[in-house]
Symmetry: C2
Subunit: 644 residues, 2 copies
């Protein structure tokens, strides 16, 4: 640092601004309409006062908007900006020594003999500001030149005028940081996964839409809809030899009828798929497509672009493997190929193909087996063109890799939720993923089951297990989903003991789902309605756990404005449990001395509670959870009380 | 990120390397001889194995040295480098997909039908490596081409050869980070502060050196030794009017005899000061000078460089103030002056002046009232020329500012130690400042008293308070100091109730310290000998607190190699206390099933302890602390036991 390179009179230091992901290497994530608290450590030598502002602009704007920051404690400052438009927002911070503010603070403490010179100093600052001001402000400022009334000179009105016309000398500016602003569905979405072929064609899937909409789902996610390979096709229950009539796995993509940009003939045409997309929209449901970047041996890519695959010395193409296991029906792409740029472009074009046919949400299969720099480039390139895209990363791999996928652009991420069953595991995990730094880049999407994951908990927990896991997913995480109808019909038989695979999995065969009387649909519809009607459940930032003296009872709240939800779940599907709770009343926005009402949105029951310590009993044979809305007693002018 | 700008085949990600201060904005601090654990998160897509190395070099070297990294858990990797030479060390990390290692791992799991093609693949990799290798390695590598013995092909010998001659394709390289390596005294030093004028001249201070050396101090810090201003000179006990014979405050620097580059005539000449520096060195003591960047109204700078001071509209120079308090005997420098560059250069030259006269350690007065960028520039410029300098920041201000001073170059920092009295305060504070991230840039120097700080604890705690605070400072912090003889003579009378100022403070008058019989010197000498003889106490990184069931008993350990010290202190100077301790036996390097000996280095007593739970009693009227050395029982071949 040579003296000549900078102005040593910039005395203000700005450090550790937030939100910030890896020192600004990645954008922080928010959704349109979010208020963003921009914070930083701001200080200088000595005792002079500081002024600081947040500068921010949407990528489409060239001019910065400005919001003033205020000091909190311990030299931390905060200014709040609102991000309204999807795309990238840029922000930075400027701060400077404010000699006027310092003079103003000290004025009240000056001794009489000091006042004359101080009034001269103040007048000079006001005169300087007046020269910088517009005509209106100038007139107002000059009015203060005639006074030696200390109250006037220390008034908020003058302070505002002086700030507006401050010289801002020796301003320290922080580096620029970015916020990726997604549409609100990125933060709050309710997913339903089904296998289209189990219903027949795209048109048959359309017939399911009213049922799915009635349950309250707003994303319908379809496993791959492309032609399926025949070479080494897997049979039912993943057997290595397929029977002639076996349907094959939808993830073994491609045959001589086409690949990633084609539809399976038995499902229908591209146009019929587009019709499904439009029908879904009329039910307020978006279609999410599965993108699995791998090829069956019969994929046209294998023939047309052998350079995108690794060839072994014996001339064969390297299939997927995890020695000694072989997946000869799947060829992974060779990302170290000399032709990597062409491969990247082609894969990007797969997304573009479906985007142009109306899809805006993608669930990406096994993204952690493709290079991480590829995703950052691919998602970045697509989002520049279509800023309303949503990408869900299907990765249940090592935490650092899951985090990096999220940092690199994935909008939402599958989580370890499926394997967090005890109350303390759930608490520890959700405290970690819903608070900064993780929550600045990672948005959980909680799935109690998937076609690959039938947990032991669901296998052995009976119907209550399905209710419990649904409530947990739907209230702990603003994004959640289920694989149905397996879920609402309590499918729980594993292929073999110790396996998390479904017996007779839809991954390898077509299922029929004739109508049934007893299922979880109505309960799911109720829970999803509660989610829609309570903004508290549409975000995770305010998640707060409360103490319970029974390790089987998990208690937590979320709030948005004055909407406060308190969920209490018995995580033991087999036994009734009771607990004394020790509630954090601040988080519930109730005070210690007045009763408040807890209104169970599942049962409709209302109870009057008082103070932090309250008792609950939950029997999984009846209903294993409360989802309470906190209603505060309000006293009107006429002394008429009601609950908000 | 355009595809053309980078190679998408670099699949390895390196994140969050350490040590790293503020994303590499500042160097991490270490001392010569330190082993530095370089860590990072290193991972890639898929299941291929990775190789990673740390590259490092001293600033004087152009060639990188290389150390291989090893994975720990959760994708964290570590490699250890040793920094031998003072100055700046640079390091970075390189990592790449290691196809040979992946092949080697999988080889053991291959099915028989797979082996032929795998052996061909392996042979090709070995042949490639041989072509890159020197003649010796080539011969060794080619020997493996003739074998299909899987054990040979998976041998460590071949793996080492392959690593040495790896192609290192598509290598990911992290950004470069820096480590500031100081001389060992930066991390372990024992300071004694005295006012030279209380002894007479520099020659009279020389007469004190044997006493100071006997007590075990290795830094003798002198308050400013410059001419003292007369205008507005402060009298005894900081009275605003001085009597004609009052000596004035050494911090009111400068009069017509000179300023920051002159000595006070009554202390002696520059040459006599240089003689003191040399004498001290013969006692293994270094002289530390106080640098206080401020001027009395009589300082030559005020006349010669009016542009370095702020002038008020009435033509007077702005004096130091904290309204309504005025410090008219002190003029601060005006760092927003147009002539700031000249001012910076002059201030830097003050250090250079004394460095050229043999001083290498500076205690900087109130650095937080001078711009933080100035210190970063000034210390950086000085250390480039004289890499063995040590700067102690005298700042007891807000934590963020103290941290920034340390980041910006100060070698050591005063702390809040003086005001941390209870066991839990001490534990919380030292846990924070002795662990990363803080310990990577902040080195505490703990002072139980200073001429400005006579704490309430010392005022009212009796002699035991002085013993307790000395043991705490000397064992919690590898750097510590006292202001004497006030400390060893138990000076404890404040100027007035509620004040932390000494009555009849040496800051404003000359004191005489005739010999005395009863003082703390012998105890100080003992504690300092224990520090010298036990490497555990010469660093803070291994500080570990142990549980105690009495809140007045603080228990902690430090270790260096097999040298383990366990300190137990009763922090209540008035009452005897007993406690059951729950020791962390791993930190003490003893096992749970064998007895170990605790050898009290203060009393000489030895006790045999066993397991984690042990009982202590400490009476402050006798001695309020144990400083135990842990001695482990060692059984020799001849079954002869002794304690290490």
């Amino acid at each position: 640092m040579a003296v000549t390179e900078f102005d040593g009179r910039k005395r203000v230091i700005i450090e550790d601004a937030s939100p910030q992901v890896d020192g600004g290497r990645f954008p922080a994530k928010r959704v349109a309409g979010d208020a963003v608290a921009v914070e930083a450590d701001i200080f200088a030598d000595g005792h002079d006062l500081i002024s600081a502002v947040v500068l921010h602009r949407h990528e489409s704007e060239t001019k910065w908007s400005e919001v003033r920051m205020r000091p909190l404690v311990n030299d931390r400052w905060r200014g709040e900006i609102t991000v309204e438009t999807i795309g990238f927002h840029h922000f930075t911070i400027e701060a400077w020594i404010d000699h006027y503010l310092t003079w103003r603070r000290d004025l009240a403490k000056r001794t009489a003999d000091d006042l004359p010179v101080q009034l001269t100093i103040g007048a000079a600052m006001i005169r300087d500001a007046a020269q910088r001001a517009n005509a209106r402000d100038r007139k107002k400022l000059e009015a203060y030149l005639d006074t030696d009334d200390l109250e006037d000179l220390r008034s908020d009105a003058l302070a505002a005028l002086m700030h507006r016309n401050a010289e801002r000398k020796f301003v320290t500016r922080y580096c620029e940081l970015a916020i990726r602003v997604d549409r609100p569905k990125a933060a709050f979405s309710t997913w339903y996964e089904l296998f289209p072929r189990s219903y027949g064609t795209f048109a048959d899937v359309e017939a399911e839409l009213p049922r799915i909409a009635k349950m309250g789902f707003d994303v319908l996610y379809l496993p791959p809809i492309h032609p399926i390979g025949v070479t080494f096709r897997k049979g039912k229950n993943n057997s290595v030899v397929a029977e002639p009539d076996d349907a094959g796995s939808p993830w073994a993509i491609g045959n001589n009828e086409g690949g990633h940009k084609s539809t399976h003939a038995s499902l229908g045409t591209i146009e019929q798929f587009e019709h499904l997309v439009a029908s879904a929209r009329s039910h307020k449901i978006e279609i999410a497509l599965d993108v699995a970047f791998q090829a069956s041996p019969d994929h046209p890519y294998v023939r047309d672009h052998p350079e995108w695959f690794l060839h072994r010395p014996d001339g064969t193409v390297q299939y997927a493997e995890n020695p000694p296991k072989k997946y000869q029906d799947i060829y992974p792409f060779h990302f170290e190929s000399d032709a990597w740029k062409q491969l990247w472009d082609e894969l990007r074009s797969v997304f573009a193909f479906w985007i142009e046919r109306g899809v805006r949400i993608f669930r990406v299969d096994n993204p952690h087996t493709k290079p991480l720099p590829f995703w950052e480039w691919c998602i970045g390139a697509l989002e520049r063109e279509w800023p309303d895209l949503i990408f869900l990363a299907e990765a249940f791999t090592r935490p650092k890799i899951m985090d990096r996928l999220a940092k690199g652009g994935f909008t939402q991420s599958y989580t370890y939720f499926a394997w967090r069953n005890t109350a303390w595991e759930l608490r520890e995990y959700f405290e970690q993923i819903t608070k900064p730094p993780v929550s600045d880049f990672f948005r959980p999407n909680a799935w109690p089951n998937t076609p690959d994951i039938l947990t032991e908990y669901l296998q052995y927990g009976g119907h209550a297990a399905f209710t419990i896991r649904l409530v947990l997913a739907a209230t702990l995480s603003a994004n959640y989903g289920i694989y149905g109808p397996a879920y609402e019909r309590f499918w729980h038989i594993a292929r073999e003991p110790g396996s998390e695979e479904y017996l007779d999995s839809e991954k390898y065969e077509v299922h029929e789902w004739p109508p049934t009387d007893e299922d979880l649909s109505d309960f799911i519809a109720l829970v999803n309605r509660v989610r829609r009607e309570n903004r508290a459940l549409q975000q995770n930032a305010t998640l707060q756990f409360h103490e319970s003296d029974n390790e089987n009872i998990l208690c937590y709240s979320k709030s948005a404005g004055d909407n406060v939800i308190l969920a209490i779940v018995n995580v033991d599907p087999k036994n009734a449990h009771a607990a004394w709770l020790e509630l954090d009343l601040d988080a519930l926005q109730v005070d210690a001395v007045r009763p408040f009402q807890v209104h169970d949105l599942l049962s409709g029951a209302r109870h009057s509670w008082h103070g932090a310590r309250n008792y609950v009993q939950l029997n999984p044979a009846v209903v294993p959870a409360h989802i309470f809305r906190i209603r505060r007693r309000v006293r009107t002018e006429r002394d008429f009380e009601y609950f908000l």
